[in-house]
């Protein structure tokens, strides 16, 4: 085979690699059969649900968590291609090289997940699950009771949930999927950046119009800043609030350097507990760190106040500027891919 032939073959292989479904390339350990069986049941519920309410046309819609008054919005994010990262002067090394990424369509939560919703996941009584038993939901892993007060006095109602691990955010996604009959997971880093850009500039000006960040976040007792009620700044062109600032948001990806090659639905599977990619900047960040391209690496020090061993797989006691939002892919993946989106397999910290 000559050089050109080898290159062609390499291109073909590359294309095949890109075409594999999301997450199935994850080099994780074999799935837990019991857990996988539970995921299959949730998938069946989702399929059943989608027959009832066919959503052929992507449109914005609202979901109320069953048996509660807590709701959230979903915004359609069209399939498309964009340039991920930045080669602009001043771009950080980890934002380079800018590269083409093609994504399938999905929905994204219009707002960061609130304490109102997250506390229902933490405490079954808050979700009224005893009055409305559901074997599928009852069997799911839920966070242990925290020893600390996890909002750290910053307020609960209408405020974004904070200080959870990526694993906890993923388990919330599983819980919410089982409750609502819609498949949710964390966004991949590419999906997050694509949605944040909303077809526009990665660093909108003036930032103050769209984001709570270091400069505008001090409030009341919180002289060094705090998070604010969700949706109190202007939304993006795609109807998303607080993508920049307020709280940083977990993505599904292990943090890794970018490759130059074009990619389709990329995701970097988790192999180690740290770092994972966190996006969007927060109330605690200066303006240059609050852009659609800026990347943050999760770190073990985010659990420093946790005095237990092993440290909790649910809480990041020292990340009071860290939250998340979920996406719902337009097409339902396999049970195995769902399982992998909800089980990063690296939740126990090395020590």
């Amino acid at each position: 085979m000559n050089l050109r032939g080898a290159l062609c073959l390499a291109m073909v292989l590359l294309t095949i690699a890109q075409a594999v479904p999301l997450l199935s390339s994850q080099a994780a350990k074999a799935p837990d059969p019991k857990e996988l069986a539970a995921v299959e049941k949730i998938r069946a519920r989702i399929e059943e649900q989608s027959k009832k309410s066919a959503t052929a046309k992507p449109a914005a819609y609202k979901v109320t968590i069953p048996n509660t008054t807590v709701s959230y919005g979903m915004a359609p994010i069209p399939a498309g291609e964009f340039t991920m990262g930045s080669d602009a002067p001043g771009a950080k090394p980890d934002e380079q090289p800018a590269h083409k990424v093609k994504l399938d369509a999905f929905w994204m939560q219009t707002h960061e997940v609130t304490w109102d919703a997250y506390l229902m996941f933490m405490f079954t009584d808050q979700a009224r699950e005893k009055e409305h038993p559901d074997a599928l939901v009852d069997a799911l892993s839920r966070p242990t009771a925290p020893h600390l007060e996890m909002s750290f006095g910053r307020g609960n109602q209408g405020f974004p949930a904070i200080s959870m691990t990526q694993y906890a955010a993923s388990k919330f996604a599983q819980w919410l999927s089982a409750k609502t009959g819609e498949f949710y997971r964390l966004p991949t880093e590419a999906e997050w950046e694509y949605a944040c850009r909303a077809g526009g500039e990665p660093a909108p000006k003036p930032l103050d119009d769209v984001a709570w960040y270091k400069k505008n976040s001090p409030q009341g007792n919180f002289t060094s800043g705090t998070y604010h009620a969700i949706g109190t700044k202007k939304p993006s062109a795609w109807g998303l609030y607080d993508m920049l600032g307020n709280v940083m948001e977990w993505t599904l990806d292990q943090y890794a350097p970018y490759a130059a090659a074009a990619q389709q639905n990329p995701v970097v599977p988790s192999k180690t507990s740290y770092p994972h990619a966190v996006r969007g900047g927060s109330w605690n960040d200066e303006e240059p760190a609050v852009t659609c391209t800026a990347r943050v690496k999760s770190d073990a020090s985010w659990k420093r106040q946790d005095p237990q061993l092993p440290k909790s797989v649910w809480y990041m006691t020292d990340a009071q500027w860290l939250g998340f939002r979920l996406v719902r892919p337009a097409s339902l993946p396999s049970a195995l891919d769902m399982y992998r989106a909800w089980n990063n397999g690296v939740e126990v910290d090395p020590f």
Binding site: L119, Q126, A145, E149, G153, G225, D306, L309, F351
Partner: protein, 434 residues
């Protein structure tokens, strides 16, 4: 259940070897003197109570001192002990120094750890057992890290005070687990209060509003044949004799800050209220308290805690003086003037207070000046007990009444297979705690 030693064969050999060599003689000379840079300077650590907190404390001990070795470990059953040992052994940083020759389980396992040839003992069981464990450790000439709170009743606190005095007489280290005292952020804040930056102190409003910690499972989950004592220990957070109640187990951190600001001088009296809104499922702790303390010079302290879901949550302290207020737990520690101006705010990096406790403990042992002046271990615990007893009884209690109270909550002896009915929830006005 009898405690069962599982002494590893290689462990015996190593111990015998050390005894037979000069190194053994030197090692026996520990704690006061340790020759540095030799194999014989290993500090042998024993862990009593190997749940999450105890395992964490062991990790911190092994991190604090490069020659510390974990050689003995105890808990109520083998599974808990094995889980902790395996986790610690798995550490890249210090796994090689986890050399557990002696793993014990059962209610007398603490004694076996203490007498297994260790130099330092870490006490991290439910607090009801702490006085007994601490006394045994000090009697056996061990240096101690003693988690908070140190007791669940007044007789227990008195036992701890006696053990502290004995530790001082014997020049043994005794570091208490009131971690905030080892936090540079709060140290600086309290120093400023002591320097007079708030003016004359007027009042302190202190809260620990949070979620339930370890809710009681229904009786239907109790395995057939499990004794009362075992069931209670396995659900220790729900029983006053074991945990002290939420005010004593958790809000004792607030009690400690209160006493710290008061330079550990006690209040004159206390009136408190408390109760329970959510069914106790067979446990007997309250889920909320508000204790009002009167200190000398008319200084009033209001300590409130709650362990409920769906409520307003915050853990804060407002220490109010005639000129300014110290605010802790809401944003950065800071001092504000009445017009809302920030007079001081903590800047810099707060260090890991849990690690610091052990850094201080081991450095003090190494230096030959064992730290044993954490007298707040007893007094801060007693302040919380005072609030709880005042709430349970519905009476105004004085410090002396609480310090001298004969009300003993911990059964003596605690026997694994024993029947043990706990009193129901306290009823203020009927329950006696004097």
């Amino acid at each position: 259940m009898p405690s069962t030693p599982r002494t590893h064969a290689d462990g015996i050999e190593r111990r015998e070897f050390i005894k037979k060599t000069g190194a053994g003689v030197l090692a026996a000379g520990f704690p006061a003197i340790i020759s540095s840079q030799t194999v014989t300077n290993a500090v042998k650590v024993g862990l009593v109570g190997s749940g999450g907190r105890g395992t964490g404390a062991a990790a911190q001990a092994l991190t604090a001192d490069a020659a510390a070795e974990l050689t003995a470990i105890a808990d109520i059953d083998e599974a808990i002990v094995d889980r902790a040992a395996n986790r610690l052994k798995g550490s890249e940083k210090f796994g090689a120094r986890v050399k557990i020759d002696n793993a014990f389980f059962g209610l007398d396992a603490y004694d076996k750890v203490i007498n297994s040839g260790v130099d330092v003992v870490l006490l991290a069981t439910p607090p009801g057992f702490r006085p007994q464990h601490l006394t045994a450790a000090v009697n056996a000439n061990k240096h101690v890290f003693c988690e908070k709170p140190c007791a669940t009743d007044s007789p227990g606190v008195r036992e701890v005070i006696a053990a502290q005095k004995l530790a001082q007489t014997k020049n043994l280290a005794l570091v208490g687990g009131f971690c905030w005292r080892y936090n540079n952020m709060i140290q600086e804040a309290v120093q400023r209060v002591h320097n007079g930056e708030l003016g004359r102190l007027v009042a302190h409003y202190s809260t620990y509003y949070t979620n339930p910690v370890k809710p009681m499972p229904p009786e239907s989950e109790r395995p057939a044949g499990m004794s009362d004592i075992e069931w209670q220990i396995r659900n220790w957070y729900n029983f006053t004799w074991l945990c002290g109640d939420s005010l004593v187990e958790q809000a004792v951190h607030n009690a400690d800050k209160i006493m710290w600001i008061m330079k550990d001088q006690p209040p004159a009296s206390c009136v408190a209220i408390g109760g329970r809104a959510v069914p106790a499922n067979g446990g007997n702790i309250f889920d909320h308290f508000e204790a009002n303390y009167l200190f000398p010079n008319g200084y009033r302290v209001f300590l409130a805690n709650r362990q409920s879901t769906g409520c307003y949550n915050a853990t804060h302290d407002y220490v109010m003086g005639t000129e300014a207020t110290l605010v802790l737990g809401v944003g950065q520690p800071r001092i504000e003037t009445p017009d809302g101006k920030v007079k001081w705010q903590f800047e810099g990096e707060a260090y890991d207070m849990y690690q610091k406790e052990h850094d201080v403990l081991f450095a003090s042992i190494r230096s030959g000046k064992p730290k044993n002046d954490d007298l707040n271990l007893a007094t801060s615990t007693l302040l919380a007990i005072m609030g709880r007893n005042a709430a349970y009884s519905g009476q105004q209690l004085t410090w002396d009444q609480v310090l001298n109270s004969q009300v003993s909550l911990v059964p003596k002896p605690v026997e694994w297979n024993a029947k043990h009915e706990v009193p129901g929830l306290a009823i203020p006005g009927r329950t006696t705690m004097a």
